[in-house]
């Protein structure tokens, strides 16, 4: 049981490391949001499940934290990305811009 816990915790730490590396190395804001959110979501899940294997009596609380992160992280980062899209210049090498097709320009996006 304990070995499972440490394996999960190591995976979680690795994902956190990759997320930090992504925030440091990615070229623009959108890529950084993507790297930070995806990596830390999975990293937090693994870390919390690892802690749960170590202390089974904490599992309900950890499950609640997992639900919270699963909801808060994607929603928060999407709101962040949308605010960035509205308020700052888009990167020059942007290939696909679905929001422009949907709303017709930066100022109409709500």
């Amino acid at each position: 049981m304990e070995i499972f816990s440490y394996i999960f915790m190591t995976i979680g730490g690795l994902f956190y490391l990759l997320g930090g590396l992504g925030i440091l190395r990615m070229p623009d804001t959108f890529n950084r949001i993507q790297a930070g959110t995806k990596a830390t979501t999975l990293g937090a899940f693994s870390l919390l499940i690892g802690i749960g294997f170590n202390n089974p009596e904490w599992f309900p609380k950890l499950l609640l934290i997992i639900v919270f992160i699963a909801l808060a992280n994607p929603i928060g980062s999407s709101a962040l990305a949308k605010a960035t899209y509205r308020s700052s210049d888009l990167p020059e090498n942007l290939v696909q811009d679905d929001l422009k097709d949907l709303f017709g320009g930066k100022d109409n996006v709500s």
Binding site: F68, L71, S78, A79, A83, S110
Partner: protein, 250 residues
Amino acid sequence: MKNFLAFVAVLVLGFLIITSLNNNEAFPNYGEADISERVSQAYIDRSATENPGDITFGETTDLESGPANIVTAIVADYRSFDTLGEVTVLFISSLGVALLLGGVNRKRIDLDFHPNFMLRVGSRALFGIILMTGVYVAIHGHLTPGGGFPGGAMIASSMLLLYLADDEFRVKIKGFKMLESVAGSLYVLIGLTGLLLISGGFFLENFLDNGVIGNLFSAGIVPIVYVLIGLKVGSEISGIIDNFLTEEAV
């Protein structure tokens, strides 16, 4: 001449302060103070009135101050009157904001930004978890770190989330005002009850059984008072948020 007099006065005053502090038993020299004789040690040992001996978590009963959390023992038991003052400070600040910004006919400020469907629905789901965490922190204030003030701030932050994620949302502000006044009055009433029930008692004396240290139902009036503080702080900060995010309807 004036400057010279001021200079002399400062010198004389400094000399007086330093000499009186040097030859004073209450202010020992640096590094020579015996911390185990200080008031804080009595608060930690729960030995301000009598020495209870060793305290075991989950076993010792009927201490002079029941909470397992030392900070709560000081904030909501030994110095409860002080906390009543702090709650009053928050009340007056929220009253000031309401006086400057509040009014009868209020509507939400028109923002350029309209949150989309995902943000609105997702924040409704998150609201419950944040609110529950706040209530948990407030109820367990006498056992774990936290208590009424941070718990109340969490309750208010869940309200702030709804305000930011939905541009139509407004709380029933009358209910919050009612909750705030009821919680504040109950705090004072509990204090007066301690004064009435125990002969020779004092304001905010713990008139309930202290119970086993570390249990959820222990520490007498301390958890009751802390939950009331949580409700009061939460509703006050929610009222402040509402005042900031609304404007007079024309």
